[in-house]
Structure formats: C-alpha cells, structure tokens
C-alpha cells in the first residue's frame, strides 16, 4: 500500500483515507509506524486515548473519559462545546475487544440510527494498518448523519464544531 507521501525529509507522512464503501458503511484507514500492540495500548488506555481523540485543532475538549475496554465493557465520553453550555455525551458498549487486533463498539447516543464501529489493527511488520468501519443500520441512517453534518445552523465556527462533535465517537448527533 502506497500510503506514504514525501513530506519533510526524514519524516514519514501517512495518509488517512475515508471512503463510503456502500450505502451503509464508512471506512477510515491509516498506517501507523508502530506494531499493533503499541497502537492497541494507545487506543485502549483512557488516559492515552484522551490525548489524541479530541485534538486541540478541533476546539473541543474532554470533560471526562470513561472506558472499560473489555468485551461487554462500556464507555462514556463527555466533551465541552464552546458554543453551548450543555456538554455532549457519547456512549456505548464494547461488543468485542480482542487485544491487540480488534475492537467493536456501539454508538448508542444515536438511538435507532446508531452505527456499530469495528476497528482492526493489522500487523504490517514494524507498522500497523488501522481499518475502521462504521456500519449504519440503514442507508437512511448514514444519509441522515451526513445531511445533519452538512446543514447545521449557528455560525460557521459552530457548524464546524458541530460537525466535529457529530463525528466524535463516530456517532450520529441529534
């Protein structure tokens, strides 16, 4: 896979891809320069996850981050939103956690339109290919997720934040 692009000399740049692979499915891929066990650790320790899941450039921050990364465990992410006094919550259940290769979770805040996310960490020698699939219950649910992201109100900045929040937790916001 030719995911590497020439960036600064000596610095490897990996490309993130997003593809709507079907009516109901979004797929995100990215290669990381570390073996799966390291990537899995960065993903499943809440104190580490907090450091990358809400990057500063997005303007939202974690209020709390609880996650029990075990099969049957639950998670709850709470974010503050500069445009609203109400924090936003994303929560769900881990359907499967198989170290260091696979995590499957529900995005229950979206109710009936909730997607199920599967992330796999594929061993590529010293690197890991991350493949994340969001499967929505129907074409309509994914269309609605996209549509609500494209037509939210408030100022442009709020709109951007809204989109970020829509996708944080990779769930659908109401």
């Amino acid at each position: 896979m030719d995911a590497r692009r020439d960036g600064e000399p000596g610095v490897r740049k990996y490309e993130t891809t997003v593809e709507r692979q079907s009516d109901r499915e979004l797929v995100v891929t990215r290669t990381v320069n570390a073996p799966p066990r390291i990537v899995f650790e960065a993903w499943t320790r809440p104190e580490l996850l907090q450091r990358w899941w809400a990057p500063k450039s997005l303007g939202v921050s974690f209020v709390s981050c609880e996650a029990d990364f075990r099969t049957g465990g639950t998670y709850r992410f709470v974010f503050s939103h500069p445009c609203s006094e109400q924090p936003m919550e994303f929560f769900g259940r881990f359907i499967e956690v198989t170290p260091p290769s696979r995590i499957v979770w529900t995005n229950d805040e979206a109710g009936d339109a909730a997607s199920v996310t599967t992330v796999t960490f594929e061993d590529r020698g010293a690197e890991t290919l991350i493949v994340m699939r969001d499967r929505y219950p129907s074409k309509e649910a994914l269309d609605a997720a996209i549509e609500s992201g494209a037509t939210s109100g408030c100022s442009e900045q709020f709109e951007q934040l809204d989109e970020v929040l829509l996708t944080l937790g990779t769930g659908v916001e109401h």
């Binding site: 650790e41 990358w52 990057p55 494209a150």
Partner: protein, 121 residues
Amino acid sequence: MVQYLDSRLDASFAALSDPTRRGVLEQLGYGDASITDLAGKFRMTLTGMKKHVGVLEQAGLVTTRKVGRVRTCRLGPRRLEEEMAWLGRYRRLWAARFDELDKVVEELKQKEVVDGRKKRR
C-alpha cells in the same frame, strides 16, 4: 469511492431509463407530492408507484419522508458534492486524530526501548 460513485451513476441511469420515472421527476420539479398523488396523476396503483419511487430513491434522485400515513416525495436528496465535502471534513478530523495518535505511539515506543534497556541490566 470510485466504485461507489460508479454504482451510483449506474443506478441513476437505470432509474432514468423509464418514462414514468422521468415523468415523476418532472412532476416533483413543480412541488413535493405524496405517493398517492403521484399514483393518481400517472394512473397507477399505489404499489406500482411505490416501486418507481423506490428506484428513484435508491438512485439518490428523490427523497421521501413519512409523516403519519402519508409518504411525501421530493426531488434530490443531499447533493453528491455535499456528501463529498462531509467526507472531506470527516477525513480531516481523523487525520488530525491520527497525527496526535502518532505522538502517543512514539512515546510508548521510546518508553519500551528504555524499559528494555533497564531489563537487560
């Protein structure tokens, strides 16, 4: 993405190959209409019209919304370029996340090297 777009174009052309469906699109150009209205205008059974609308909906040319017992049809859903823009923003979100993840991963790798050295001592 290319594959998905191709299949969507195929669906669009297939949808447009039928004169009734072209008529329905033209009709919806004048305003939203229920399946019952459309069935009446085109002198078809409800079931027949539902099938045609279903094909148009699959092709992304029409959206429908059910309120109570009435299903209303309207032209064009979110446009393809809107979807592409949304996917672009979604990609940027994940790219930003992964850039931060890289830093965490790098730290863990360094730590492993240091811990490894300690163990060897």
